[in-house]
Amino acid sequence: MAEPLLGFLGEFGTPEALLDAAKRARSDGFKCIDAFSPFPVEGMAEVLRLNGDQRIGWITIAGGLFGFLGMLGVQLFVNVDYPIEVGGRPLFAWPAFFVVDFEIMILCAVLFAVGGMLIINRLPKLYHPLFGTPRFGLASADRFFLYIDASDPKFDPARTRSFLGSLGAWTVEPVRP
């Protein structure tokens, strides 16, 4: 028990119970909480105030612009650097350029979105202390976990543990590094 405590993990049986527990933990003043579930629980993002994060949208737009302008630049440059005259048609064939431009805009937008998602979520991260908690494996099957981190100003080992119990958690486990 000499190892420091990272937080407590409470186990719930249904998404509704988890949502309810998260709401009560928030209204009780806990800030550093996280929920773990086998699928996204509807309403959880609102409870944990995660909806304000619009970074992915901006990253995707940045990717799209990068692809669009970059590919347009390539096509314009190529036609200046090695002009191919075809029956006096304009070198800058905007409608024709738009096709490849559109594809590369999409490609870069998607690459940026996926990369951004991985960076924001700090994945891949093959090991995490939570994986050392015996029941945590069920978070990908049919159990729903509420985690209260020890860094929370309201955190107190004994009281937080019994608080999770009072929310209706089936089991409460300490998380250690």
Binding site: F39, E42, M44, N79
Partner: protein, 451 residues
């Protein structure tokens, strides 16, 4: 969005869904049929490798194509394969955005089918190049001769469209797969499986923060993927429509191609769904309701494709162009009339059975009708290429096309290139979306609880 019959039966539990799907990679239930299928597809793959080895050694002259029909099997199959692939993206992306819960049982393997089909599609123009080792000429790189690709040509657009489509399909599929890989990782008992799934699951923990970002990303990519599908097949149709060949030079081509693609693709998804459901006893997850909606979508797409046929004929007559009308007559009565009438018959006649609920819900009948659609679309792509090319403006350059042995062996072998990765996917990865089906179940349970 309450519906009469739930998509996932309410008697299922979250654990049932994990178990039913995760057992396929972890404890393969149908070892023998799978092995037989794999041996068959490896045999086809060897045929493909043998065919392209000979092709690379001797050149495209081993195929039946020649002036005037210099685009035949390779290009017709390119269009066909790419079309089959499109349904996967449409099911995953479009139906996700429209909140159609039933798509959650089908999207995973439909996307895998897309990836396999796009690989085959991408292969076709490459082997058709004649000198495939010069493929990189299509990309703008600082060549010593100072030349660059011609970005004003539809042939150049092709590379970018297919490359983008392949990469986006793989990423979309993989991003959706990560949470399920985590589920299988946590269920795996053997060390080897734990490491295999553990690495590919990237350490996914199902955190609400991760889900929130993931959800936004997944939906963003979905919203981008829908116009991508439309643009890719429109671009393919421009390979034809941008030329002046009679029978190709028409504004109906982009929508006609996209709809035909979705039509054959949905039929293909129905076929795969029926086979998987039967082989792995997935009747609880892929229910009759799924077959019913798939059949309805196929029917709707088929009728829209039929509109394309009608409009094409109208377009030719309305244009008053002698050669356009002659091409239509060649399609009706000419040497290749079998491909036109075959396409009309296989695409639209058995399809009418899908008006009946009994037929839509019968796996055997739906499978047969879907097969007929896939064959019909195959004939249609053949018809579009060959009947337009074999007689164009100059009577001196009329000529016939006959597929050679190597045309067929390359095509039949390529079925192995499609089936082998798909079978490996079914064997080693969760082929149905576990967490998305749980999501549906949770929603249904909540609805049932509220009465």
């Amino acid at each position: 969005m309450a519906s009469k019959t739930p998509v996932i039966p309410l008697t299922e539990t979250y654990r049932d869904i994990s178990r039913e799907v995760a057992r396929i990679p972890l404890h393969m239930p149908a070892r023998v049929p799978w092995l037989i299928a794999l041996i068959l597809s490896l045999a086809l793959l060897s045929l493909f490798l043998a065919s392209i080895t000979y092709l690379f050694a001797r050149g495209v002259g081993i195929w039946g194509l020649n002036i005037p029909v210099n685009w035949a099997f390779a290009i017709h199959l390119y269009v066909w394969w790419l079309g089959l692939g499109h349904a996967g993206t449409l099911i995953s992306a479009m139906l996700l955005l429209m909140g159609q819960d039933w798509r959650n049982s089908l999207n995973r393997f439909a996307e895998a089918m897309t990836v396999c089909a796009v690989i085959c599609a991408g292969m076709e123009p490459i082997i058709h190049l004649g000198r495939p080792w010069f493929l990189y000429w299509m990309f703008p790189y600082p060549a010593t001769m100072g030349v660059w690709p011609q970005f004003r040509s539809p042939l150049e657009w092709d590379v970018w469209a297919v490359m983008t489509y392949l990469i986006v399909s793989i990423l979309f599929w993989y991003i959706g797969l990560v949470p399920d890989l985590a589920t299988v990782r946590d269920r795996a008992k053997k060390r080897g499986w734990q490491v295999f799934f553990g690495i590919f699951a990237l350490g996914w923990r199902g955190s609400a923060r991760h889900w929130a970002v993931w959800n936004k990303t997944y939906r963003t990519i979905a919203a981008i993927a829908v116009p991508l599908v439309v643009s890719v097949h429109s671009e393919v149709s421009l390979l034809f429509a941008a030329g002046q060949i009679p029978g190709w030079h028409s504004t109906i081509f982009p929508p006609y191609f996209v709809l035909g693609a979705a039509f054959s693709g949905f039929a293909m998804v129905a076929m795969i769904a029926i086979v998987m459901r039967h082989t792995f006893q997935l009747g609880h997850i892929v229910t009759e309701r799924h077959l019913d909606v798939l059949a309805k979508v196929t029917l709707a797409m088929g009728l829209m494709t039929a509109y394309g046929y009608v409009f094409e004929v109208f377009d030719a007559y309305y244009s008053g162009e002698m050669r356009e009308i002659a091409t239509i007559h060649d399609r009706f009565f000419g040497y290749y009339a079998w491909s036109f009438w075959g396409a009309v018959f296989f695409n639209f006649v058995p399809l009418q059975g899908l008006w009946l609920a009994r037929v839509r819900r019968s796996p055997v009948l739906l499978f047969l009708i879907s097969t007929s659609v896939v064959v019909g679309m195959w004939l249609e792509r053949y018809m579009i290429l060959v009947t337009s090319l074999y007689k164009d403006f100059l009577p001196s350059s009329f000529g016939y096309y006959h597929a050679s042995f190597w045309d067929w062996s390359t095509y039949i072998g390529m079925l192995g290139l499609f089936m082998t990765p798909f079978l490996l996917f079914v064997r080693f990865l969760p082929s149905i979306s576990i967490f998305e089906d749980k999501e549906v179940l949770a929603r249904e349970k909540a609805e049932a609880a509220h009465g």
